[in-house]
Symmetry: C2
Subunit: 201 residues, 2 copies
Amino acid sequence: MSALPKALEELIEALSYLPGVGPRSAERYAYFLLKNDKNKTKKLSKSLSALHSSVKNCPKTFALINSDDKVSDLYSDSDRNKSIVALVADPFDIIAIEKTSLFKGTYHVLGGLISPIDGIGPEQLHIPELKKRIKQDKVQEIILATNASVEGETTALYIQQELSEFKLEITRLARGLPIGVDLEYADQITLGRALEGRQNL
Amino acid sequence: MSALPKALEELIEALSYLPGVGPRSAERYAYFLLKNDKNKTKKLSKSLSALHSSVKNCPKTFALINSDDKVSDLYSDSDRNKSIVALVADPFDIIAIEKTSLFKGTYHVLGGLISPIDGIGPEQLHIPELKKRIKQDKVQEIILATNASVEGETTALYIQQELSEFKLEITRLARGLPIGVDLEYADQITLGRALEGRQNL
């Protein structure tokens, strides 16, 4: 004898699988879906069932693309400068950079960051494919656009060494004060980096 | 030209519909599902598509039940005392009470709490059905098991007035110190209620 119908229990279990969603949140989501518009639930169900078959990785950049596309628009578009490549960890990092509208080069997704704790070594990253692109597209600049975390810095360092055989400029995103933050609230490391990397006015 | 495949954008939009889930969390969930085991995504999709057709409200207690069941187990079971009814706002409150294993009566779900701000008036609650049960099942005690919030207290007061025509005991859940909490950290209202409702040792 259970206090909940089976279908609801199954849904709660399935929702609990999402990252950061515990049984309480899963219950809340499930009950919300049950009380509200049926069509929204159907839409969510359909999007989920279509997900894996409708999305694939771009064979060139490893960005996420529609499964019936050949390569990423952000690569094939003639407006994009193929000789500048921003190296990112995850496909969602591309969205963040695209939102700035300031980058007209192309992207290359590493597929993660080196993290021995999580069992991710350099051999799991899309580095061989990057090397191929450097030759084919005559890449002149690689921007290391990885997180400002230990894993991000480690990966950046590793990539820098790996690419030493090529004649190209390797840059990385500037470290400094985030816009809108008071100096007195900035942490020491950020402030230190902002000092080291001070820019001419 | 979008930075994301259509299927992924649609999924993120559908996930954002969940309560408390913003675009960032939705992106995180979507990407997690894409990177991980396909079967988990399929399972979630199936649970969602089955939800509305597999679950209904019990016609007696308004608890959630399998759509092919007639009434809630927690009502029909001969072990449960039908003359004691715990009145709760939502079906999930039943689970919370069942977890204590201390209640052997039956439940009645109001379907909400009186809240003028949210447009919920007493006419939307399952009060007529409760009155019918009181007569049919010769109910002797109603436990007002609503939240200790303004809406919960308002609803409890309203129900008390509504049921004044019946000869029955109306009780409510005790207010007092939550277990494990230090006196000095308890808020004034809780401490005041704990004083007023002090119990004999």
